[in-house]
Symmetry: C2
Subunit: 199 residues, 2 copies
C-alpha cells in the first residue's frame, strides 16, 4: 500500500478523458443510487467537471427526477465510467450533496448558478420541459419555451456534488486494477492510499 496526500486518481482520470475526448460520449457515465424501497437504480448522466480545484464531481439534474428521492433516502452514489477507446473503468463512490434553489448555503447557491450558466441554452431549456416520467401529452412537444439567456437557474435545476471516498480503477488492456481509498489524518485532512489488486 502506498500513501499520498494528493489525489492520485485524478491525474489518471484526466489522462483517460484526454485519450477518449474524440468520442462524443466520453463525458457520459452511469450513476447508481438506492431507491427508498432499497432497490438499486442506474442511469446515464453527464460529467460537468470538478468543483474548482477540488476532487468533487459536478452533475446537473432535474429536481423532479427520481434520483433526488433516492439521494434523500440514501445519500451515497457510485459512478461507473467506462472509457470505450482506452478500455478503462473508473468506479467512483461517495456521498452526494443535492443543491437545489432552496439550499440555505450562499456559496452552494453560487456554485449552482455557475453550473447553470455553464450549460448551453438548449440544456437549460430542458429544465422548463414537462416533469420527467409523467404521462406524455403529444401536444406538449409542439411548443418550445423561450428563455432569456441572462436569467438565473429555474427551480427545477439541481446541482449534484459527489465527494469521492473510493475510486476503483481497472485497465482492461494492461489487466491492472488499483483501488484508491480516502482517509482522514489526525489533523482532519483527507488523504488517499492506493492498493494494487487482482483485476
Amino acid at each position: 500500500m502506498s500513501s499520498s496526500a494528493a489525489t492520485p486518481w485524478k491525474q489518471l482520470l484526466f489522462s483517460s478523458i484526454q485519450a477518449n475526448s474524440h468520442l462524443k460520449n466520453s463525458s457520459y457515465f452511469q450513476l447508481a443510487t438506492v431507491t427508498s424501497n432499497g432497490r438499486p437504480s442506474n442511469r446515464t448522466v453527464v460529467f460537468r467537471g470538478f468543483q474548482d480545484e477540488s476532487e468533487k464531481i459536478l452533475i446537473n439534474t432535474d429536481t423532479r427526477s427520481r434520483k433526488i428521492d433516492d439521494l434523500k433516502h440514501c445519500s451515497f452514489a457510485e459512478i461507473c465510467w467506462y472509457f470505450t477507446d482506452s478500455w478503462e473503468q473508473f468506479r467512483i463512490s461517495g456521498p452526494v450533496d443535492v443543491i437545489d434553489g432552496t439550499n440555505p448555503d450562499p456559496l452552494k447557491l453560487q456554485q449552482r448558478e455557475k453550473s447553470w450558466f455553464a450549460c448551453s441554452l438548449k440544456s437549460r431549456l430542458q429544465y422548463m420541459a414537462p416533469a420527467p416520467r409523467l404521462p406524455s401529452l403529444s401536444e406538449q412537444h409542439t411548443k418550445t419555451p423561450s428563455l432569456d439567456p441572462s436569467i438565473g437557474p429555474v427551480p427545477a435545476f439541481c446541482l449534484l456534488l459527489l465527494d469521492p471516498d473510493q475510486v476503483d480503477y481497472l485497465n482492461l488492456k494492461s489487466n491492472e486494477r488499483l483501488i484508491f481509498t480516502s482517509g482522514l489524518s489526525v489533523d482532519g485532512d483527507k488523504f488517499w492510499t492506493s492498493d494494487k489488486v487482482n483485476p
Copy 2:
C-alpha cells in the same frame, strides 16, 4: 397505457443491438446492485444474450466478486445500457438468480454449463486467475494456467440470470421515453404494459 402479452421492449432492444453492432463495446452495460451496508455499487459487465426464447438476461461473473455478496443481501439489480451510436438508453430492473456450481436445480446447472462452453477459452481462463480484489502479487502474472477446452465450468464460474420486471427506454434523438412494466394475469401469466412518459 397499452397492454400486450408479448415482450414489447425486447424487439426495441434487438433493434438497438443491431444498430450499434459495429461498436465493440455495444454489448457492455452497467449493472447496479446494493451492498450489504446499503450503498449502491456499479460496474461494467457483458451481455451474454437471453436465456433461450425467454426475456431473462444472461451475465457471467466470478463467484469471488463482490456483486455476489451484494445480490445475497438484495437480489435486485438495475442494468443501464446506453447505446452510443443511436443515443438510446435501456434501464432494465428485476431480481437476479445467482447460479453457481452448488445450485440444487439440474436445469440451472445445465444452463450454467451451456454458458461456460459459450465463452471463449480466454474468457474461461479468467475464472482460474487469482481472486479479484485481493492484493496483486506481480509474480502471479507470469504464469498462464492451462485449461482443457472439454472441461466443464470451474467453481469460480457463476451465471447471473436477470428477470426484468421494468424497462425504462429513452431515445435522446427523438426525445421519447417509454416505461414498460410487468404484471401477472389472473392465470399467473406475466404480461407487459407500456406508458409513454416525458423524457
